[in-house]
Symmetry: C2
Subunit: 149 residues, 2 copies
DNA sequence: AAAGATTGATGCCTCAATCTTG
DNA sequence: CAAGATTGAGGCATCAATCTTT
């Protein structure tokens, strides 16, 4: 890494750490939800029947199956989601958004969006934002494509 | 957020999560060090006397003082650093890189640099990398400047 | 044996409380 | 009381082991 790359890499490392922390704090303070929980709610809300298999959910969120199980277990205790085994393949488990979970998401979404604007979108130019989107798409694809992961 | 912004934000969120995870895994697998530990070693190695106050270290790393204390405590158990109270202000604590810690860093650095290249620098263009650096510098500055943090 | 999911142990992070020095 | 740092408790993530179904 040359000195320019080194500076860029440090800014990136610092910036992403701060951004994640700030978004997590904003959400937690405004809604009582963690980022992980919020993301689960979002994904479930985007399906026609507001439910999804645990394995699909884990893949979309880039969480390990174990991590997702723990998170969903806690969310189930809070009444935000419910689980039942899937039809057809009895190995699978379906995770479904409850009405209470949906209400919670509806209340939380504007808080989170405002936070993303304030911390990210409003801070950089639209051109920069476009480059970030493209670059991280490639970065993510490269990592997921990697057999050694 | 319009639909373009939404896509960009999702790519960014997913990409940063995957990148952090991959870099952590690469480092852990190749050196036995966590990213947090590695960063502590790096910062200490960059000072003339290979030592730094706990509070300065915490600020540079964007870690809470508490988190840094725990991390340094574990590193001290491994013999990578040592602590002693500072001259002049007896409230302060100086954290110093041991010879063993320095050796460990020297061995780990090439592994980490190769990982950063493979996962990030070699995957996007120099222009994209430059934009990432600038953008995240602004993002980070904005968050640290925020009184409500 | 492989896929889907869960469990429990361990480790790290966060938060609030505490201690010491200025 | 404020600043620097530490402590312990509780929460979440990770890892390996386990269970069930295919």
């Amino acid at each position: 890494l040359d000195s320019a790359q080194q500076r860029q890499w440090r800014s990136l490392a610092r910036g992403t750490a701060l951004l994640l922390e700030a978004l997590g704090r904003d959400l937690e303070a405004g809604t009582g939800l963690s980022l992980s929980e919020y993301e689960v709610l979002v994904r479930l809300s985007e399906t026609p029947d507001r439910s999804m298999r645990m394995s699909s959910l884990a893949d979309q969120l880039v969480h390990s199956r174990s991590r997702l199980t723990h998170t969903v277990r806690r969310m189930e205790d809070q009444g935000l989601v419910s689980r039942c085994s899937t039809e057809g393949d009895r190995r699978g488990v379906n995770c479904t958004l409850t009405d209470a979970g949906y209400e919670r998401l509806v209340a939380a979404a504007p808080v989170h969006v405002a936070s993303v604007r304030r911390r990210l979108v409003d801070v950089i130019s639209a051109e920069q934002m476009a480059v970030l989107g493209e670059a991280f798409e490639v970065i993510g694809d490269e990592i997921t494509a990697d057999p050694s992961r």
